[in-house]
Amino acid sequence: MNEDNTPRRKVLWTMAIIVVLVYALIPVIWIISLSLKTPETIGDGRFLPSDWTLHNYSDVFSTGFFTSALRNSIGIALIATLISLAFASMAAYAITRLEFRGKTAILAGSLAISMFPAISIVGGLFDLWRQIGLYDTWLGLILPYLSFSLPISIYILSAFFREIPWDLEKAAQMDGASPMQAFRRVILPLAMPGVFTAGILTFIGAWNDFLFANVLTSTDASRTAPVALAFFRGASQFTDPSGAIAAGAVVVTVPILIMVLIFQRRIVSGLTAGAVKG
């Protein structure tokens, strides 16, 4: 775009871009490479495996420890995402479309809550959950995830909903569509990208959490995958768990990475919604 794209500058920026790519990708390539190493070569100090095996993957799945944690992670993150989307869509719709006092209070309050340090509420939750029986349950994790994803989702969805040409709904009704049809055929398709974006970010946030899961769970009943990895001690006492941890790490990360890469446009717009529009 700039006029100063002289050959020398082009080469410089190309090199910069290559550095960026290497910097972004190396740790991920490294953990995949480590997960493929055999127990004999894991300490050889090489970046790429000289001899590769899938042994670590069967290792990490050989104990119920990781498998149940993976199930918990998927279930908890999915449920939290769905509930969060339903509630946040309702709130964002009211905020963008309806006239009422308290609108700004809700937005400001959400913003404040999104900045709460997790450590400040996890202690209170730990004690409360112990007393009312939510400790070490799915719901016990879903609730705090909601409290952090709702503010962000309300913000993202409000930003998206504001861009929807709502008059189209009226136009559709004039053309003979019922209110429900107008909503389903006209408004819903326009709102879906925003909802989808908020959903992806919520899911990633819940999937990524370590502090709440570490404090509020203790058994296979609700322990999530990041916690299981942090406390994985190997399939038996005599094996070094590093290879299996690396394999588990790859299993936890790759699905999210694929999702991020497929939906990168939406994620970027979600991350920058509100922050840049000034």
């Binding site: 972004a24 006239e99 809550i113 709460f116 997790a118 509420i121 990041p226 990895l229 000034g278």
Partner: protein, 309 residues
Amino acid sequence: MASATTVRPGAGTASAGKKPVLTDRARAERNLAWKLCAPAVILMLLVAGFPIVYAFWLSLQKADLRFPDANEFVGLQNYVSVLTSSTWWQDVGNTLIITVCSVTLELIIGMLIAQAMYRAIFARTPIRASVLVPYGAVTVVAAFAWRLAFDPATGFVVQWFGLDTPPLTTRAGSFFVIIMAEVWKTTPFIALLLLGGLALVPDDLYKAAKMDGASGWQRFTKITLPLIRPALMVAVLFRTLDAFRVYDSVFIMTRGANNTETVSILGYQQLINRLNLGLGSAVSILIFFCVILIALAFTRFLGASPAKR
């Protein structure tokens, strides 16, 4: 949701007539709005608001789960204990080291990446894709990737660079690895926010400045920086608050060993390992106040305002 059609005229009357008496339609609209917001608001109040208040109440108690019968109200004594301990101040220092170093590095690298992405005429999509890779990686996984790379028993870094002592056994080395992991994980976020800001700078300004003979650096400091300042400040504010509560990376790398304990790790140790809810809650509330102070400082003195939209 079908009520959306009746809403527009209602909104018109509500804003047109600024009478204290609400029309029926405006009242119905307000009721609907509150009904729609209620689930989200109630949830946020119950699961984020209430625990903070409860933590504050706990912080005024002698509340040790190992001695449940010895609970009593002790006023600010827990705060005195925390604020007069060297551990707290040491941990605040450690947290600040990690926060300042990582946010500074993230800004510099983030700006370079944003510029590279902005100028990239070719391969924009693959570049954005690979920049998003660290964002998609789970923090615990990223921390393991870095730890296992620097651990001589599994990694390649010590061998490659012929280091005498494994970095994770020393304080400076541990800080280095923790900060690198944090920077790797969160720079994409900064880069994307900055890229969004860069896209808003009109190209004509650069052309005009160039005609007037401004150098590349001058164009950057005199045009780019002032114009992307809002995006920049918001990015710095978010990341500073985030970095100040750093927990995952430190937990995986050192668990606070080698004098790398951060305030969040301290809170966790008190609450969960020692089950001292009183002292732990005092630490949590102090962290909460630190975060408020940082946010206020940013909004008041540096003009970062995420709320202004």
